[in-house]
Subunit: 357 residues, 2 copies
């Protein structure tokens, strides 16, 4: 399955095919020919899939292994990688290959976006969640007090997605990725949302055909939004549905304590409930909640967190401006909009979620 992504200055393909990493070298050389490559790879992926990936090149390719987890999106890791690029003499015509989940994509993408003021890169995502970050060109690292606070917009030359690689993911990683898939239905395509609801009743037993279909659909929907607004000046902000609270929960718990998608799922329930309180229409969130609980999600805001701390984070989230507290809410399933939210309303619903009220 192939999805074409078109941005202001660039177009590229997302290829979703079982077994594609066994012939990755060929695809990469075709779409992004280069005198030299560097693979940046997550340590888990390195032990399981790196040899297959390397074998597909029929030549030696240097690689750099980074520890798994969000902590790798640090300034020290970023600087070490850039030093290594220079040491192995990558030049302006070289290509970086990001082989791993979202962390590797973000880190390697930011290295590629800034080394010599930007060289090309290719994404080979290895998690379900990374379907999201691998399309749209947002790359970043973290500040001590803010996730993804430092980055650029840098589009890949090609995205290779091998569903076979996903088979070995732990279940919470399936939940993490699937929440972002469902989010696309919520904000942009009601029929897709309903199809997912019918089709996916057990994350451990998804048919390969279904998997490929929903990844492709989510990528298409995201690409359509990114095409309209690469730099998040307007419609792209809708992709943040569920993220305002989701990010705050991730930060308050400490990164890695909860997966991104599981935090976003909590944020989506909150956004639906907040919308029902402050907008003139009402959305039935209960069938979504039941479905997600069946899939193993916990939709409660972790009770050890405080509403005040969460709300402080939500206001400083970069999707907000400090003067206005903005959030993405649903007008209906399949249609979202950015709303100004009064801090008092958000606080009230948040306290209800936490059983504090």
């Amino acid at each position: 399955m192939r999805v074409d992504v078109q941005t202001t200055n660039q177009s590229y393909q997302v290829l979703i095919e079982p077994g594609i990493i066994t012939r990755a070298g060929e695809e990469i050389k075709k779409a992004a020919p280069a005198s030299s490559y560097l693979i940046i790879v997550d340590e888990n992926v390195a032990t399981t899939y790196l040899s297959i990936f390397l074998a597909s090149f029929e030549q030696e390719i240097p690689y750099y292994v980074v520890p798994s987890g969000e902590a790798s999106k640090s300034f020290s890791q970023y600087e070490s990688l850039l030093d290594y690029c220079l040491q192995i003499k990558l030049d302006r015509s070289s290509v970086i290959l990001a082989f791993g989940g979202g962390v590797v994509g973000d880190l390697a993408g930011f290295v590629a976006g800034t080394y010599m003021r930007g060289i090309r890169f290719v994404q080979i995502p290895t998690t379900l969640l990374a379907h999201d970050s691998s399309v749209g060109g947002k790359v970043a690292i973290n500040l001590a007090d803010g996730k993804n606070m430092v980055g650029v917009f840098h589009q890949p030359e090609l995205v290779l997605y091998d569903p076979n690689v996903l088979k070995t993911l732990p279940e919470k990683e399936w939940r993490s990725g699937f929440a972002e898939i469902v989010k696309m239905g919520f904000i942009a395509d009601r029929a897709f949302f309903e199809w997912l609801h019918l089709e996916v009743t057990d994350l451990k037993a998804i048919k390969q055909e279904t998997l490929i279909q929903f990844i492709a659909k989510a990528v298409q929907l995201k690409a359509a939004i990114v095409q309209q607004d690469e730099r998040e000046d307007n419609v792209r902000a809708l992709l943040n549905f569920g993220h305002t609270l989701g990010h705050a929960i991730e930060a308050e718990l400490g990164y890695g304590a909860i997966t991104h998608g599981e935090a976003i799922a909590i944020g989506m329930r909150f956004a639906i409930r907040l919308g029902n309180r402050i907008l003139s229409h009402s959305i039935d969130g209960s069938s979504f909640e039941k479905w997600f609980e069946t899939l193993g999600y916990s939709l409660n805001v972790p009770p050890e967190l405080s509403a005040t701390s969460l709300l402080t984070r939500m206001k400083v989230d970069k999707k907000a401006s400090y003067q206005n507290f903005v959030m993405v809410l649903l007008d209906q399933v399949g249609q979202a909009k950015v709303y100004n939210v009064a801090v008092d309303d958000a606080m009230l619903v948040l306290k209800q979620e936490l059983g504090e009220s």
Copy 2:
């Protein structure tokens, strides 16, 4: 005097006016209105001009002082600045003001280009050399082994240039900046080169009118090149005339041991001599050499340096690709071109310059 710069996605003005920093606030609020600003300022400039600059705003503006000198273009300074941006809650609609020489422009510009994936910035250059870096959007920091190796292209919203501020510059800073002015004549405008040669015979006694005129002309010439090729895919490379050896000298001596422009002046003499050796035409470099020596430049390659080490650096300079050794040479005064240079020829001329042959 006003120069308009047009790039792919943006246009902005360069205002060159004596006393303009006394009304900088007004100009900045007009061209780049924002809810919040941050001034990033060089410590020398902070002691001399910051109070005047701040007074022009009629409101409190936070500022962050960085040590003078190339060492501030480090990862640790970059990270500290970004932490500070978050701490004072700069958001996506904030504007960073880079008040200082090239170091501050590069550092503050890279902060602006990557904080929250890019916020706006304004350049207020305070050295003659910074006329060059403040136009064209190249911003960067240094790796331990490579100057300007990490950066982005990020165009300012406005450039405010106050010739009065230049009066207090030490003479070597005049030489540093003036070499880049003359470079523009060499690569793009013979009449400008000849006019400079006639008009400027003593860097300590330049008439203000002449100063404004040549800054504006150099900015115009550079802007014309940047407009054609923002990302240095072709014609912009001509701006590197004199820089291949110049950068190598700066790196070998250790940054700060020689000013950028003084190193570039040495590189220009070398490029002319190398061109005369390997091209089918010949350029009379002697009048340029005499003129520059009168102005206080030393055009000899520092004798403590080795040709081999310099050449190794020249080959890894990011303007070269590792497979081909490329350099900008003159076809005639006012016209430059990128040439492939054989390593042996470069070595020979370099050894002559060093008196090693």
